[in-house]
């Protein structure tokens, strides 16, 4: 029905914000993303501890503060809007994917815990959208363009930064949709159309910042000790996320009404075959009145499956790193 107008209102006021507050995600969605996030962060902690020395711990703390502060650097774009950095790709390019993930997670934890920018129970989803997805895409920077010329590296970083913002927005919109907080037909197109533009700012700043660092401190790019991972496994992870965004986005903008079905199919495929399909309605309209036992079971089963997949991926990456 009148989704076009609603989407327009939505675009103007809400969509530029990606920090989801508490109350906007249903508890199964919040739980699933907490499990994914905790799983990935535990792997990241282990990998970082293995590969980094004590010296790098203050570095990561200061880098987290840097990302937080760098998000305040904005520049006017057009019509009163301004572009600013999210920083996931920049963090991963500078520090490597695992350390980049930890740094981004810390940024979002502090924003939620101390500044109420993003909720506490939904923090798992926020860390996933803005930290883990963006850092995973950022890891492609070394995987794809590590040995290329300066120009190619910069363009790769710019494209990845743009893609990371779009991917984060897409995940945010899908989570809101699955929570029954906003119809897919409104949330996904609105979120995407705004962040396709916001992402350009991210891409330009990331490119310029990297170019600046390359010019002033070319030695820093070669600080291999700081970087952890960045191998072939990461290229696969990054490409999968990129593929999800690239495939889903055109469907979203071309056919918002048919999106709900597609989003459910693809979304759950992407979440590694979460709960059985007949339990889906409970996700779309969670607990009006009594909480049905089936919803609880669905949430737990989904969480367990996702946890298993997350740990399997972590294991595989670990083995790969060990053999490499």
């Amino acid at each position: 029905m009148n989704t076009a107008l609603l989407a327009h209102l939505w675009e103007e006021i809400v969509a530029p914000r990606m920090h989801i507050p508490d109350g906007f995600l249903s508890w199964p969605v919040a739980l699933i993303f907490w499990v994914i996030t905790i799983g990935l962060l535990l792997v990241a902690v282990r990998k970082t501890q293995q590969q980094l020395g004590e010296r790098q711990i203050p570095l990561m703390g200061v880098m987290a503060a840097f990302i937080f502060a760098a998000q305040m650097i904005n520049f006017p774009v057009a019509g009163g809007t301004s572009g600013h950095l999210l920083g996931g790709v920049l963090a991963a390019a500078m520090l490597g994917p695992w350390a980049g993930m930890l740094v981004m997670a810390c940024v979002i934890i502090v924003q939620g815990l101390l500044f109420q920018d993003g909720g506490l129970l939904v923090m798992g989803a926020n860390i996933f959208n803005m930290g883990l997805v963006t850092a995973a895409l950022g890891s492609l920077y070394h995987g794809l363009a590590g040995r290329q010329s300066k120009g190619v590296r910069l363009v790769t970083a710019g494209v990845l930064a743009w893609l990371s913002v779009v991917a984060g927005a897409l995940f945010t919109a899908l989570e809101l949709g699955f929570s029954g907080t906003s119809p897919f037909g409104v949330a996904v197109p609105a979120m995407l159309s705004v962040h396709v533009l916001i992402g350009i700012g991210e891409g330009l700043i990331t490119m310029a910042a990297l170019a600046f660092v390359m010019q002033v401190r070319p030695d820093l790019e070669a600080v291999e000790a700081v970087r952890t991972g960045g191998g072939r496994g990461w290229v696969v992870v990054g490409l999968v996320i990129a593929l999800i965004v690239v495939v889903l986005s055109p469907i979203a903008s071309a056919n918002p009404d048919g999106l709900e079905r597609v989003a459910i199919d693809m979304g759950f495929e992407k979440m590694a075959a979460a709960p059985p399909y007949e339990l889906l309605p409970d996700y779309v309209i969670p607990f009006l009145g009594e909480t049905p036992l089936s919803t609880i079971l669905a949430g737990v089963i989904g969480a367990l499956v996702v946890a298993a997949v997350a740990f399997a991926v972590g294991r595989a990456l670990h083995r790969r790193a060990a053999t490499a």
Partner: protein
């Protein structure tokens, strides 16, 4: 300056400030979970939760005005859910005529929207209570006790220590840019879009290098002062009787709220 706004309330003294940070973290998380689990339309339960928030704020000598003002942070996001009013099927309450558009508001949609609004607003107030009554280092220490990986907590500790230094650094960078680029009538700070983005990127790169070099100096300074890989605290953080009582009281209130929410909705 930012530091002040954070610590102004957290460094006060009151019964709530004095509680063990673990109790406050766990109670806050459970309370937010309780709010999230309340069904739409359980207004008595929502109201009771709000009364509990105000009571804690009173006990913490924070003042309701402060909590209310800070709780507006999450308000813009509420519009995410406003679409539900017009898209959920149900009995039509009113029709909104906006130009060529006709929006039909349904009772089910309105109820769901009001529920989401109430839940997010209460959750934000609970989170504000936690932050306003707990100093950041205590909060981190509580996280460590609650089995958050030590590496993560250490990074967070470093981050908090240098956050305000770097924010000040950014403010200097922004001021320098403002002083050097005139505003045109259109409100654009000089140059083309690409030029503006490049300036912002250079500032980011500059900030990165300053941060990077600072972290090196920090590490050397810490080694000079006997750092051996982890932070220690002079605050022992042991659970006293009143900490357990406070946790028990919080749990009891939440159970009553949940029960009322199921019975009276």
């Amino acid at each position: 300056m930012l530091q002040n706004t954070l610590d102004r309330y957290a460094t006060r003294t009151s019964i709530v400030h004095d509680l063990d940070p673990r109790v406050k973290v766990v109670a806050t998380l459970l309370a937010i979970l309780s709010v999230l689990l309340l069904p739409d339309g359980a207004w008595v339960a929502y109201f009771l939760t709000w009364c509990a928030v105000l009571a804690v704020a009173y006990a913490a000598r924070l003042g309701a005005a402060f909590i209310l003002r800070r709780s507006l942070v999450a308000l813009p996001f509420a519009l995410v859910a406003i679409t539900l009013v017009f898209t959920l099927p149900g009995q039509i309450i009113f029709t909104l005529q906006l130009g060529a558009w006709e929006l039909k508001a349904s009772d089910a949609g309105l109820m769901r929207f009001a529920g989401i609004l109430a839940r997010s607003w209460l959750s934000v107030q609970l989170a504000i209570l936690l932050t306003a009554t707990t100093r950041a280092p205590d909060l981190l220490h509580a996280l460590r006790h609650l089995r958050v990986p030590g590496l993560l907590v250490t990074i967070l500790a470093f981050m908090l220590r240098y956050l305000f230094v770097l924010v000040d650094e950014v403010e200097r960078l922004l001021r320098a840019r403002q002083a050097r680029s005139a505003l045109s009538t259109a409100g654009k700070g000089g140059g083309s879009l690409l030029w503006r983005a490049r300036v912002a990127g250079n500032m980011t790169g500059q900030l990165f290098l300053r941060s990077f070099e600072r972290s090196d100096r920090i590490y050397n300074a810490m080694l000079a002062r006997g750092f051996r890989g982890r932070f220690v605290t002079i605050n022992p953080h042991t659970m006293r009787q009143r900490d357990w009582m406070a946790l028990g009281l919080a749990l009891a209130v939440l159970v009553v709220v949940q029960w009322l929410g199921r019975v009276l909705s």
